[in-house]
Amino acid sequence: MNRRRFHPRWFRRRTPIFWWLEKGVYVHFIVRELTSLGVAYAALLLVVQVGVLGAGDAAHARFTALLASPWAVAWHALLLATLVFHTLTWLHLAPKALVVKLGGRRVPNAAILAGHYLGWLAASALVVLVLVRS
């Protein structure tokens, strides 16, 4: 059969791999998507810490010392920046995704955003309350 041979070629322009470097908004989009790597890393590190916790006193002391090395702290400062970028971009999507009506009127976007920021503040306070010992 010659059908395959004579099939017309699809006309498709190839998209270059680094298409997203062309514009600021594209870079913003890709960086936002890549914050998911920071989220996954944080989850993995929590799992590792649970493992270390179960592995005994010596292992726990060694890992605690490793976390206190300047490289680890610098690396996790970068992680914090990534996670905060995730939070800001995520919370700013909320007013676009949510239409809240109250008494037949649409709640303004700024109010929805403010509510989410308050939620972030409350959740952060709860985390500090649970994890920090005086």
């Binding site: 791999i17 998507e33 998911s36 916790l53 939070t87 919370l91 972030w120 985390v127 649970v130």
Partner: protein, 116 residues
């Protein structure tokens, strides 16, 4: 998309994204920056074990880990498709992302149960 599993994974992505947005910056700051630098005091090993003795604490931690991983899996999958133009590897990328998230969640569940 017309794929029946899509809303399911989207829900996990969305829940994980919200949970990660609300708690992970504080977790990262306290556990991996402030505590190692001595700015704040966190529990010692016995204190962590006591905290994680409650089933609620273990479940909360497992839920956070699982949802954060499924958030990553979903978002990173589409970043690879669109960012790197890998649409032809659809099945492989989906398997690696969701499979990886599932595997790490199972490991986390095992490690939490092992704490005794």
């Amino acid at each position: 998309m017309g794929r029946p599993t899509e809303p399911f994974f989207w829900t996990l992505f969305s829940a994980g994204g919200m949970l990660a947005a609300l708690v992970l910056p504080a977790v990262c700051f306290v556990l991996w920056i402030a505590a190692p630098l001595g700015w704040l005091a966190t529990p010692d090993r016995a204190g962590w074990l006591a905290l994680l003795a409650s089933p609620l604490a273990r479940f909360t931690l497992l839920a956070l880990v699982a949802l954060a991983l499924f958030h990553w899996a979903h978002r990173f999958r589409y970043t690879l498709y669109d960012g790197l133009q890998l649409h032809h590897l659809y099945g492989l990328i989906a398997t690696v992302c969701y499979g990886g998230a599932t595997a790490v969640t199972l490991v986390a569940a095992y490690l939490l149960l092992r704490l005794g």
